[in-house]
Amino acid sequence: MMEASADIAPKVVKEEKQYSYLNLGPTHPATHGIFQNVLKMDGEVIVDATPTIGYIHRAFEKLAEHRPYNQITPITDRMNYCSSPINNIGWHMTVEKLLGVEIPKRVQYLRVIIMELARITDHLVCNAVIGVDTGALTGFVYLFQQRELVYEIYEEICGARLTTNIGRIGGFERDFSPKAWEKINKFLKEFPVVLKEFEDLLKRNRIFMDRTIGCGGISAERALNYSFSGVNLRAAGVDYDVRAMNPYSSYEDFDFIIPVGTNGDVYDRFMVRQEEMWQSMSIIKQAMKKLPEGPFHAKVPEFYLPPKEEVYNNMEALIYHFKIVMGETDVPKGEVYHCVEGGNGELGFYLISDGGRQPFRLHLRRPCFIFYQAYPEMIKGSMLSDAILTMSSMNVIAGELDA
Protein backbone atom coordinates (compact mmCIF):
# COMPACT_ATOMS: atom_id res chain seq x y z
CA MET A 1 0.00 0.00 0.00
CA MET A 2 1.23 3.31 -1.02
CA GLU A 3 0.42 6.27 1.07
CA ALA A 4 -0.35 9.49 -0.66
CA SER A 5 2.48 11.85 -0.35
CA ALA A 6 1.80 15.02 1.55
CA ASP A 7 2.55 16.92 -1.60
CA ILE A 8 -0.23 15.49 -3.69
CA ALA A 9 -2.89 15.07 -0.98
CA PRO A 10 -5.70 17.52 -1.44
CA LYS A 11 -5.36 20.46 0.84
CA VAL A 12 -8.29 21.08 3.09
CA VAL A 13 -8.46 24.72 3.82
CA LYS A 14 -10.49 25.48 6.90
CA GLU A 15 -12.14 28.80 6.45
CA GLU A 16 -14.51 30.54 8.75
CA LYS A 17 -17.95 30.93 7.35
CA GLN A 18 -18.07 34.10 5.33
CA TYR A 19 -21.09 36.28 5.23
CA SER A 20 -21.63 38.95 2.67
CA TYR A 21 -23.27 42.25 3.39
CA LEU A 22 -25.81 43.79 1.10
CA ASN A 23 -27.03 47.32 1.26
CA LEU A 24 -30.68 47.28 0.34
CA GLY A 25 -31.75 50.85 -0.15
CA PRO A 26 -32.11 53.67 0.82
CA THR A 27 -33.37 54.40 -2.68
CA HIS A 28 -34.17 51.13 -4.26
CA PRO A 29 -37.16 50.82 -6.58
CA ALA A 30 -38.21 47.54 -4.99
CA THR A 31 -38.63 48.99 -1.51
CA HIS A 32 -41.27 51.55 -2.56
CA GLY A 33 -39.93 54.33 -0.42
CA ILE A 34 -36.83 55.34 1.41
CA PHE A 35 -35.86 52.37 3.53
CA GLN A 36 -32.36 51.19 4.16
CA ASN A 37 -31.52 47.73 5.35
CA VAL A 38 -28.05 46.35 5.76
CA LEU A 39 -28.56 42.68 5.16
CA LYS A 40 -26.17 40.04 6.39
CA MET A 41 -26.39 37.32 3.81
CA ASP A 42 -25.38 33.70 3.66
CA GLY A 43 -25.66 33.09 -0.05
CA GLU A 44 -29.15 34.23 -0.78
CA VAL A 45 -30.47 33.59 2.70
CA ILE A 46 -30.79 36.52 5.05
CA VAL A 47 -29.09 35.97 8.38
CA ASP A 48 -29.69 39.36 9.90
CA ALA A 49 -30.94 42.78 8.94
CA THR A 50 -30.28 46.21 10.36
CA PRO A 51 -32.84 48.77 9.30
CA THR A 52 -31.97 52.44 9.29
CA ILE A 53 -34.84 54.88 9.22
CA GLY A 54 -35.26 58.61 9.34
CA TYR A 55 -34.27 59.55 5.81
CA ILE A 56 -37.32 61.72 5.36
CA HIS A 57 -37.77 62.83 8.94
CA ARG A 58 -39.53 66.19 8.90
CA ALA A 59 -39.97 66.80 12.64
CA PHE A 60 -43.78 66.77 12.58
CA GLU A 61 -44.06 66.60 16.35
CA LYS A 62 -41.83 69.62 16.79
CA LEU A 63 -43.54 71.48 13.95
CA ALA A 64 -46.91 70.83 15.54
CA GLU A 65 -45.80 72.56 18.73
CA HIS A 66 -45.37 75.76 16.75
CA ARG A 67 -48.57 75.84 14.75
CA PRO A 68 -52.19 76.65 15.45
CA TYR A 69 -54.50 73.66 15.50
CA ASN A 70 -56.09 74.10 12.10
CA GLN A 71 -52.68 74.36 10.47
CA ILE A 72 -51.62 70.97 11.80
CA THR A 73 -54.06 69.18 9.50
CA PRO A 74 -51.80 69.53 6.43
CA ILE A 75 -48.96 67.99 8.45
CA THR A 76 -51.03 64.89 9.11
CA ASP A 77 -51.60 64.50 5.35
CA ARG A 78 -47.98 63.82 4.87
CA MET A 79 -47.80 60.85 7.17
CA ASN A 80 -49.68 58.06 5.47
CA TYR A 81 -50.17 59.71 2.13
CA CYS A 82 -51.96 56.68 0.71
CA SER A 83 -54.92 57.42 2.97
CA SER A 84 -54.49 61.03 4.04
CA PRO A 85 -58.23 61.65 4.71
CA ILE A 86 -58.09 59.18 7.60
CA ASN A 87 -55.18 61.10 9.11
CA ASN A 88 -56.95 64.43 8.63
CA ILE A 89 -60.21 63.27 10.13
CA GLY A 90 -58.42 61.48 12.96
CA TRP A 91 -56.76 64.75 13.84
CA HIS A 92 -60.02 66.73 13.61
CA MET A 93 -61.65 64.25 15.96
CA THR A 94 -58.78 64.53 18.42
CA VAL A 95 -59.24 68.29 18.65
CA GLU A 96 -63.00 67.90 18.86
CA LYS A 97 -62.54 65.48 21.73
CA LEU A 98 -60.39 68.03 23.52
CA LEU A 99 -62.94 70.77 22.91
CA GLY A 100 -65.83 68.50 23.80
CA VAL A 101 -67.83 69.34 20.69
CA GLU A 102 -70.91 67.41 19.70
CA ILE A 103 -70.61 66.48 16.04
CA PRO A 104 -73.79 66.24 13.93
CA LYS A 105 -74.75 62.79 12.73
CA ARG A 106 -74.53 63.82 9.09
CA VAL A 107 -70.92 64.91 9.49
CA GLN A 108 -70.05 61.61 11.14
CA TYR A 109 -71.61 59.64 8.28
CA LEU A 110 -69.93 61.77 5.64
CA ARG A 111 -66.64 61.20 7.42
CA VAL A 112 -67.22 57.47 7.46
CA ILE A 113 -67.80 57.54 3.71
CA ILE A 114 -64.56 59.41 3.10
CA MET A 115 -62.53 57.32 5.53
CA GLU A 116 -63.74 54.10 3.95
CA LEU A 117 -62.92 55.42 0.49
CA ALA A 118 -59.46 56.22 1.81
CA ARG A 119 -59.14 52.74 3.27
CA ILE A 120 -60.03 51.24 -0.09
CA THR A 121 -57.33 53.26 -1.86
CA ASP A 122 -54.79 52.40 0.81
CA HIS A 123 -55.46 48.67 0.63
CA LEU A 124 -55.74 48.82 -3.12
CA VAL A 125 -52.28 50.33 -3.52
CA CYS A 126 -50.76 47.84 -1.12
CA ASN A 127 -52.37 44.78 -2.68
CA ALA A 128 -51.57 45.94 -6.18
CA VAL A 129 -47.95 46.37 -5.13
CA ILE A 130 -47.86 42.86 -3.68
CA GLY A 131 -48.91 41.79 -7.15
CA VAL A 132 -46.07 43.77 -8.71
CA ASP A 133 -43.51 42.24 -6.40
CA THR A 134 -44.66 38.76 -7.27
CA GLY A 135 -44.46 39.55 -10.97
CA ALA A 136 -48.01 40.58 -11.84
CA LEU A 137 -47.91 44.14 -13.07
CA THR A 138 -51.29 43.93 -14.73
CA GLY A 139 -53.33 44.29 -11.56
CA PHE A 140 -51.34 47.31 -10.48
CA VAL A 141 -51.94 49.24 -13.68
CA TYR A 142 -55.55 48.19 -13.77
CA LEU A 143 -56.37 49.08 -10.16
CA PHE A 144 -54.71 52.46 -10.36
CA GLN A 145 -57.45 53.55 -12.72
CA GLN A 146 -59.89 52.94 -9.90
CA ARG A 147 -57.75 54.84 -7.45
CA GLU A 148 -58.01 57.73 -9.85
CA LEU A 149 -61.79 57.63 -9.46
CA VAL A 150 -61.46 57.97 -5.69
CA TYR A 151 -59.06 60.85 -6.11
CA GLU A 152 -61.60 62.55 -8.30
CA ILE A 153 -64.11 62.18 -5.48
CA TYR A 154 -61.65 63.82 -3.07
CA GLU A 155 -61.13 66.55 -5.62
CA GLU A 156 -64.83 67.19 -5.77
CA ILE A 157 -65.09 67.37 -1.99
CA CYS A 158 -62.03 69.34 -0.99
CA GLY A 159 -60.18 70.32 -4.16
CA ALA A 160 -57.05 68.30 -3.47
CA ARG A 161 -56.07 64.80 -4.44
CA LEU A 162 -53.14 63.27 -2.63
CA THR A 163 -52.50 65.46 0.39
CA THR A 164 -56.11 66.27 0.91
CA ASN A 165 -56.46 68.53 3.96
CA ILE A 166 -60.05 67.37 3.92
CA GLY A 167 -62.69 68.78 6.25
CA ARG A 168 -62.29 71.16 9.11
CA ILE A 169 -62.33 70.88 12.87
CA GLY A 170 -66.07 70.44 13.41
CA GLY A 171 -67.06 69.10 10.03
CA PHE A 172 -66.69 70.06 6.42
CA GLU A 173 -66.14 73.37 4.72
CA ARG A 174 -69.05 72.62 2.37
CA ASP A 175 -71.58 69.90 1.80
CA PHE A 176 -70.96 67.21 -0.79
CA SER A 177 -72.01 68.51 -4.17
CA PRO A 178 -74.40 66.50 -6.40
CA LYS A 179 -71.41 65.88 -8.64
CA ALA A 180 -69.51 64.32 -5.74
CA TRP A 181 -72.41 61.95 -5.05
CA GLU A 182 -72.51 61.13 -8.73
CA LYS A 183 -68.84 60.24 -8.65
CA ILE A 184 -69.23 58.13 -5.51
CA ASN A 185 -72.08 56.25 -7.15
CA LYS A 186 -70.00 55.76 -10.26
CA PHE A 187 -67.14 54.38 -8.19
CA LEU A 188 -69.42 52.05 -6.23
CA LYS A 189 -70.79 50.73 -9.49
CA GLU A 190 -67.53 50.27 -11.33
CA PHE A 191 -65.13 49.27 -8.60
CA PRO A 192 -66.62 45.90 -7.51
CA VAL A 193 -66.28 44.56 -11.05
CA VAL A 194 -62.64 45.54 -11.22
CA LEU A 195 -61.87 44.34 -7.72
CA LYS A 196 -63.48 40.99 -8.47
CA GLU A 197 -61.38 40.69 -11.59
CA PHE A 198 -58.22 41.55 -9.66
CA GLU A 199 -59.11 39.07 -6.95
CA ASP A 200 -59.73 36.29 -9.47
CA LEU A 201 -56.38 37.06 -11.01
CA LEU A 202 -54.42 36.39 -7.84
CA LYS A 203 -56.53 34.69 -5.17
CA ARG A 204 -56.26 31.12 -6.43
CA ASN A 205 -53.31 31.70 -8.72
CA ARG A 206 -50.85 28.84 -8.23
CA ILE A 207 -47.77 31.00 -8.80
CA PHE A 208 -49.03 33.72 -6.49
CA MET A 209 -50.00 31.26 -3.76
CA ASP A 210 -46.69 29.40 -3.91
CA ARG A 211 -44.91 32.67 -3.72
CA THR A 212 -46.81 34.20 -0.80
CA ILE A 213 -48.04 31.43 1.48
CA GLY A 214 -45.60 30.93 4.33
CA CYS A 215 -43.60 33.98 3.34
CA GLY A 216 -42.88 36.65 5.93
CA GLY A 217 -45.10 35.15 8.59
CA ILE A 218 -45.37 36.17 12.22
CA SER A 219 -47.20 34.48 15.08
CA ALA A 220 -50.03 36.25 16.89
CA GLU A 221 -48.03 36.20 20.11
CA ARG A 222 -45.01 37.92 18.59
CA ALA A 223 -47.22 40.32 16.68
CA LEU A 224 -48.90 41.40 19.90
CA ASN A 225 -45.59 41.74 21.67
CA TYR A 226 -44.45 43.98 18.84
CA SER A 227 -47.67 46.01 19.18
CA PHE A 228 -48.79 45.26 15.66
CA SER A 229 -52.09 46.75 14.67
CA GLY A 230 -54.33 46.93 11.67
CA VAL A 231 -54.17 44.40 8.87
CA ASN A 232 -50.82 42.97 9.95
CA LEU A 233 -52.22 42.02 13.35
CA ARG A 234 -55.49 40.72 11.99
CA ALA A 235 -53.67 38.58 9.44
CA ALA A 236 -51.90 36.94 12.38
CA GLY A 237 -55.29 36.04 13.84
CA VAL A 238 -56.09 38.75 16.37
CA ASP A 239 -59.39 40.49 15.73
CA TYR A 240 -58.38 43.93 16.95
CA ASP A 241 -59.93 46.72 14.95
CA VAL A 242 -60.30 50.17 16.45
CA ARG A 243 -63.51 50.70 14.50
CA ALA A 244 -65.14 47.87 16.42
CA MET A 245 -63.32 48.10 19.75
CA ASN A 246 -63.58 51.84 20.30
CA PRO A 247 -66.12 53.01 17.74
CA TYR A 248 -65.66 56.59 16.65
CA SER A 249 -67.63 58.67 14.18
CA SER A 250 -70.70 56.40 14.48
CA TYR A 251 -69.03 53.20 13.32
CA GLU A 252 -71.30 51.38 15.76
CA ASP A 253 -74.22 52.09 13.39
CA PHE A 254 -72.85 49.92 10.63
CA ASP A 255 -72.62 46.20 10.10
CA PHE A 256 -69.27 44.97 8.99
CA ILE A 257 -67.10 41.92 9.36
CA ILE A 258 -63.55 42.03 10.62
CA PRO A 259 -61.64 39.47 8.58
CA VAL A 260 -58.80 37.64 10.30
CA GLY A 261 -56.04 35.43 8.98
CA THR A 262 -54.23 32.53 10.60
CA ASN A 263 -50.55 32.52 9.65
CA GLY A 264 -49.83 36.21 9.43
CA ASP A 265 -47.97 35.70 6.17
CA VAL A 266 -48.09 37.71 2.97
CA TYR A 267 -51.02 35.77 1.57
CA ASP A 268 -53.10 36.30 4.72
CA ARG A 269 -52.37 39.99 4.68
CA PHE A 270 -53.36 40.16 1.06
CA MET A 271 -56.61 38.33 1.71
CA VAL A 272 -57.50 40.37 4.80
CA ARG A 273 -57.02 43.58 2.83
CA GLN A 274 -59.04 42.21 -0.02
CA GLU A 275 -61.95 41.36 2.26
CA GLU A 276 -61.70 44.69 4.03
CA MET A 277 -62.17 46.47 0.74
CA TRP A 278 -65.46 44.62 0.23
CA GLN A 279 -66.47 45.49 3.78
CA SER A 280 -65.56 49.14 3.25
CA MET A 281 -67.74 49.22 0.20
CA SER A 282 -70.62 47.80 2.19
CA ILE A 283 -70.07 50.43 4.92
CA ILE A 284 -70.15 53.22 2.34
CA LYS A 285 -73.40 51.87 0.93
CA GLN A 286 -74.95 51.62 4.41
CA ALA A 287 -73.83 55.14 5.26
CA MET A 288 -75.28 56.51 2.04
CA LYS A 289 -78.54 54.72 2.64
CA LYS A 290 -78.88 55.90 6.24
CA LEU A 291 -77.41 59.35 5.67
CA PRO A 292 -79.35 61.78 7.87
CA GLU A 293 -80.21 65.31 6.92
CA GLY A 294 -78.72 68.15 8.87
CA PRO A 295 -75.87 70.58 9.02
CA PHE A 296 -72.53 69.62 7.51
CA HIS A 297 -70.52 71.12 10.33
CA ALA A 298 -70.77 71.55 14.07
CA LYS A 299 -71.10 74.93 15.72
CA VAL A 300 -67.47 75.70 16.45
CA PRO A 301 -67.04 79.24 15.10
CA GLU A 302 -63.54 79.46 16.57
CA PHE A 303 -62.37 76.79 14.17
CA TYR A 304 -64.79 76.88 11.33
CA LEU A 305 -64.06 79.52 8.71
CA PRO A 306 -67.27 81.53 8.16
CA PRO A 307 -68.70 82.06 4.66
CA LYS A 308 -67.11 84.95 2.82
CA GLU A 309 -70.27 87.06 2.46
CA GLU A 310 -70.70 87.01 6.22
CA VAL A 311 -67.09 88.03 6.75
CA TYR A 312 -67.69 91.17 4.73
CA ASN A 313 -71.02 92.06 6.33
CA ASN A 314 -70.88 90.75 9.86
CA MET A 315 -68.55 91.91 12.63
CA GLU A 316 -68.55 88.62 14.51
CA ALA A 317 -67.75 86.57 11.44
CA LEU A 318 -64.93 88.96 10.61
CA ILE A 319 -63.43 88.51 14.07
CA TYR A 320 -63.60 84.73 13.83
CA HIS A 321 -62.16 84.81 10.35
CA PHE A 322 -59.24 86.90 11.56
CA LYS A 323 -58.64 84.70 14.59
CA ILE A 324 -58.63 81.51 12.57
CA VAL A 325 -56.39 82.83 9.83
CA MET A 326 -53.93 84.35 12.30
CA GLY A 327 -54.05 81.28 14.53
CA GLU A 328 -55.15 83.13 17.64
CA THR A 329 -57.68 80.71 19.01
CA ASP A 330 -57.07 79.52 22.54
CA VAL A 331 -57.85 75.91 23.25
CA PRO A 332 -58.81 74.60 26.71
CA LYS A 333 -56.25 72.85 28.84
CA GLY A 334 -56.30 69.09 28.68
CA GLU A 335 -54.84 65.83 27.60
CA VAL A 336 -56.52 63.49 25.14
CA TYR A 337 -55.69 60.38 23.22
CA HIS A 338 -57.74 59.54 20.20
CA CYS A 339 -57.14 56.70 17.83
CA VAL A 340 -58.59 55.73 14.51
CA GLU A 341 -58.17 52.67 12.37
CA GLY A 342 -55.77 53.99 9.76
CA GLY A 343 -54.89 52.30 6.51
CA ASN A 344 -52.23 50.23 8.20
CA GLY A 345 -53.09 50.19 11.86
CA GLU A 346 -54.06 52.09 14.95
CA LEU A 347 -53.25 55.70 14.22
CA GLY A 348 -53.19 57.58 17.52
CA PHE A 349 -52.94 61.24 18.38
CA TYR A 350 -51.86 62.09 21.90
CA LEU A 351 -52.49 65.76 22.38
CA ILE A 352 -51.46 67.81 25.40
CA SER A 353 -52.75 71.35 25.51
CA ASP A 354 -51.61 73.88 28.09
CA GLY A 355 -54.39 76.29 27.20
CA GLY A 356 -52.42 78.01 24.49
CA ARG A 357 -52.85 78.48 20.78
CA GLN A 358 -50.57 75.63 19.84
CA PRO A 359 -50.35 72.14 21.28
CA PHE A 360 -47.93 71.78 24.16
CA ARG A 361 -47.08 68.34 22.87
CA LEU A 362 -48.46 66.23 20.10
CA HIS A 363 -47.37 62.65 20.00
CA LEU A 364 -48.25 60.67 16.92
CA ARG A 365 -48.66 56.96 17.33
CA ARG A 366 -47.67 55.90 13.87
CA PRO A 367 -48.50 52.25 13.29
CA CYS A 368 -45.68 51.72 10.75
CA PHE A 369 -43.06 53.00 13.10
CA ILE A 370 -44.10 50.45 15.66
CA PHE A 371 -44.47 47.37 13.51
CA TYR A 372 -41.58 47.99 11.14
CA GLN A 373 -39.16 47.12 13.94
CA ALA A 374 -40.28 43.51 13.67
CA TYR A 375 -39.08 43.41 10.07
CA PRO A 376 -35.62 41.92 10.78
CA GLU A 377 -37.22 39.17 12.81
CA MET A 378 -39.74 38.44 10.08
CA ILE A 379 -37.21 38.08 7.27
CA LYS A 380 -34.56 36.15 9.14
CA GLY A 381 -33.85 32.90 7.32
CA SER A 382 -35.79 33.85 4.23
CA MET A 383 -34.63 34.67 0.73
CA LEU A 384 -33.86 38.18 -0.41
CA SER A 385 -36.79 38.25 -2.79
CA ASP A 386 -39.12 37.25 0.05
CA ALA A 387 -37.81 40.13 2.11
CA ILE A 388 -38.91 42.56 -0.59
CA LEU A 389 -42.32 40.96 -0.68
CA THR A 390 -42.64 41.01 3.11
CA MET A 391 -41.91 44.71 3.22
CA SER A 392 -44.44 45.61 0.57
CA SER A 393 -47.10 43.45 2.18
CA MET A 394 -46.62 45.12 5.58
CA ASN A 395 -47.70 48.41 4.04
CA VAL A 396 -44.88 50.44 5.55
CA ILE A 397 -45.20 54.02 4.36
CA ALA A 398 -41.97 55.99 4.58
CA GLY A 399 -43.77 59.25 5.30
CA GLU A 400 -45.49 57.81 8.32
CA LEU A 401 -42.48 55.84 9.49
CA ASP A 402 -40.24 58.89 9.68
CA ALA A 403 -42.85 61.47 10.64
Partner: protein, 167 residues
Protein backbone atom coordinates in the same frame (compact mmCIF):
# COMPACT_ATOMS: atom_id res chain seq x y z
CA UNK B 1 -63.53 52.97 29.38
CA UNK B 2 -63.01 51.64 32.86
CA UNK B 3 -65.75 51.69 35.46
CA UNK B 4 -65.12 52.36 39.13
CA UNK B 5 -64.94 48.66 40.02
CA UNK B 6 -62.27 48.01 37.40
CA UNK B 7 -60.28 50.99 38.64
CA UNK B 8 -60.43 49.71 42.23
CA UNK B 9 -59.36 46.30 41.03
CA UNK B 10 -56.41 47.70 39.12
CA UNK B 11 -55.21 49.70 42.10
CA UNK B 12 -55.51 46.69 44.38
CA UNK B 13 -53.56 44.55 41.91
CA UNK B 14 -50.74 47.07 41.95
CA UNK B 15 -50.88 47.44 45.73
CA UNK B 16 -50.60 43.67 46.14
CA UNK B 17 -46.93 43.88 45.30
CA UNK B 18 -46.12 47.54 45.04
CA UNK B 19 -47.68 49.20 48.07
CA UNK B 20 -47.16 52.93 48.06
CA UNK B 21 -45.88 53.20 44.52
CA UNK B 22 -48.98 54.98 43.20
CA UNK B 23 -48.78 58.71 43.63
CA UNK B 24 -52.03 59.62 41.97
CA UNK B 25 -54.82 57.79 40.21
CA UNK B 26 -57.64 59.53 38.42
CA UNK B 27 -59.87 59.40 35.39
CA UNK B 28 -58.64 61.78 32.68
CA UNK B 29 -61.39 62.10 30.05
CA UNK B 30 -61.77 58.48 28.91
CA UNK B 31 -58.43 57.25 30.21
CA UNK B 32 -57.65 55.93 33.65
CA UNK B 33 -54.34 57.60 34.46
CA UNK B 34 -51.91 56.50 37.13
CA UNK B 35 -48.90 58.51 38.17
CA UNK B 36 -46.40 56.20 39.79
CA UNK B 37 -42.94 56.43 41.28
CA UNK B 38 -40.23 56.15 38.67
CA UNK B 39 -37.98 53.50 40.16
CA UNK B 40 -40.13 50.41 39.72
CA UNK B 41 -42.20 51.30 36.67
CA UNK B 42 -41.05 48.30 34.61
CA UNK B 43 -41.77 45.92 37.49
CA UNK B 44 -45.26 47.36 37.78
CA UNK B 45 -45.92 47.03 34.03
CA UNK B 46 -44.54 43.53 34.06
CA UNK B 47 -46.80 42.71 37.04
CA UNK B 48 -49.83 44.10 35.17
CA UNK B 49 -48.77 42.09 32.13
CA UNK B 50 -48.65 38.79 33.98
CA UNK B 51 -51.40 39.17 36.56
CA UNK B 52 -54.52 37.12 35.90
CA UNK B 53 -56.91 40.00 36.59
CA UNK B 54 -55.26 42.70 34.52
CA UNK B 55 -53.30 41.17 31.63
CA UNK B 56 -52.32 44.43 29.99
CA UNK B 57 -50.42 42.75 27.22
CA UNK B 58 -50.48 45.35 24.50
CA UNK B 59 -48.31 48.44 24.57
CA UNK B 60 -50.17 51.09 22.64
CA UNK B 61 -47.56 53.77 22.90
CA UNK B 62 -44.68 55.09 24.92
CA UNK B 63 -43.25 58.57 24.68
CA UNK B 64 -41.70 61.45 26.57
CA UNK B 65 -42.95 64.95 27.35
CA UNK B 66 -40.73 67.80 28.49
CA UNK B 67 -41.99 70.17 31.19
CA UNK B 68 -39.40 72.95 31.29
CA UNK B 69 -41.02 74.84 34.21
CA UNK B 70 -40.69 71.85 36.53
CA UNK B 71 -37.44 70.76 34.86
CA UNK B 72 -38.99 67.37 34.40
CA UNK B 73 -39.46 64.84 31.66
CA UNK B 74 -42.54 62.68 31.84
CA UNK B 75 -42.63 59.22 30.34
CA UNK B 76 -46.09 58.12 29.33
CA UNK B 77 -46.95 54.45 28.88
CA UNK B 78 -50.29 53.44 27.43
CA UNK B 79 -51.35 49.87 27.91
CA UNK B 80 -54.30 48.03 26.47
CA UNK B 81 -56.00 44.82 27.44
CA UNK B 82 -57.40 43.58 24.16
CA UNK B 83 -59.74 40.97 25.62
CA UNK B 84 -61.57 43.30 28.03
CA UNK B 85 -60.84 46.42 26.01
CA UNK B 86 -59.50 48.37 28.96
CA UNK B 87 -56.93 51.04 28.39
CA UNK B 88 -54.75 52.64 31.01
CA UNK B 89 -52.09 55.26 31.06
CA UNK B 90 -49.09 55.20 33.37
CA UNK B 91 -46.89 58.20 33.93
CA UNK B 92 -43.57 58.73 35.59
CA UNK B 93 -41.68 61.94 36.07
CA UNK B 94 -37.93 62.08 35.66
CA UNK B 95 -35.50 64.89 36.27
CA UNK B 96 -34.69 66.62 32.99
CA UNK B 97 -31.02 66.88 33.95
CA UNK B 98 -30.46 63.17 34.07
CA UNK B 99 -33.47 61.26 32.82
CA UNK B 100 -32.90 57.56 33.26
CA UNK B 101 -35.39 54.78 33.45
CA UNK B 102 -35.13 50.99 33.23
CA UNK B 103 -35.90 49.60 29.80
CA UNK B 104 -39.27 48.14 28.93
CA UNK B 105 -37.86 45.98 26.14
CA UNK B 106 -37.73 43.10 28.61
CA UNK B 107 -41.54 43.04 28.59
CA UNK B 108 -42.47 44.42 25.16
CA UNK B 109 -40.35 44.06 22.03
CA UNK B 110 -42.25 47.04 20.67
CA UNK B 111 -40.65 49.29 23.28
CA UNK B 112 -37.31 49.04 21.47
CA UNK B 113 -37.81 51.77 18.89
CA UNK B 114 -40.15 53.79 21.06
CA UNK B 115 -37.45 54.08 23.70
CA UNK B 116 -34.91 54.92 21.05
CA UNK B 117 -37.22 57.70 19.90
CA UNK B 118 -37.54 58.99 23.45
CA UNK B 119 -33.76 58.99 23.68
CA UNK B 120 -33.32 60.61 20.30
CA UNK B 121 -35.65 63.50 21.00
CA UNK B 122 -35.51 63.94 24.77
CA UNK B 123 -32.35 62.18 25.90
CA UNK B 124 -34.18 59.70 28.09
CA UNK B 125 -31.73 56.88 28.80
CA UNK B 126 -33.32 53.47 29.06
CA UNK B 127 -30.98 51.37 31.13
CA UNK B 128 -30.47 47.90 29.75
CA UNK B 129 -31.73 48.74 26.28
CA UNK B 130 -30.06 46.51 23.67
CA UNK B 131 -29.29 49.24 21.16
CA UNK B 132 -29.85 52.74 22.49
CA UNK B 133 -28.80 54.95 19.58
CA UNK B 134 -30.53 57.75 17.70
CA UNK B 135 -33.28 56.64 15.40
CA UNK B 136 -34.71 59.46 13.31
CA UNK B 137 -32.07 62.16 13.64
CA UNK B 138 -28.50 62.06 12.36
CA UNK B 139 -26.03 60.24 14.60
CA UNK B 140 -23.75 63.22 15.17
CA UNK B 141 -26.49 65.49 16.48
CA UNK B 142 -25.46 66.96 19.81
CA UNK B 143 -28.80 68.08 21.21
CA UNK B 144 -32.10 66.46 22.04
CA UNK B 145 -34.23 68.53 19.70
CA UNK B 146 -37.73 68.05 21.10
CA UNK B 147 -36.81 69.62 24.41
CA UNK B 148 -38.52 72.92 24.83
CA UNK B 149 -35.36 75.02 25.03
CA UNK B 150 -34.64 74.38 21.37
CA UNK B 151 -36.51 76.58 18.93
CA UNK B 152 -38.05 75.18 15.79
CA UNK B 153 -35.16 76.29 13.65
CA UNK B 154 -31.53 76.09 14.65
CA UNK B 155 -30.56 79.72 15.28
CA UNK B 156 -26.84 79.02 14.96
CA UNK B 157 -27.02 77.92 11.36
CA UNK B 158 -25.06 80.06 8.95
CA UNK B 159 -25.74 78.24 5.72
CA UNK B 160 -29.23 79.67 5.50
CA UNK B 161 -29.25 83.27 4.40
CA UNK B 162 -32.86 83.67 3.57
CA UNK B 163 -33.54 87.29 4.45
CA UNK B 164 -36.79 87.38 2.52
CA UNK B 165 -38.39 85.06 5.03
CA UNK B 166 -36.98 86.71 8.10
CA UNK B 167 -34.48 84.08 9.03
Amino acid sequence: MMDAAAQEKLISVINEKFEGEIIEAAMDKDFFTLIVKKERIVDIISHLYNHEDTKFQYLTTLFAVHYPDQNQIAMVYQLHNLSTNQRIRLKIFLSADNPTTPTLTTVFSAANWMEREAYDFYGVISQGHPNLIRILNVEDMLIFPMRKEYPLEDQTREDKNDLMFGR
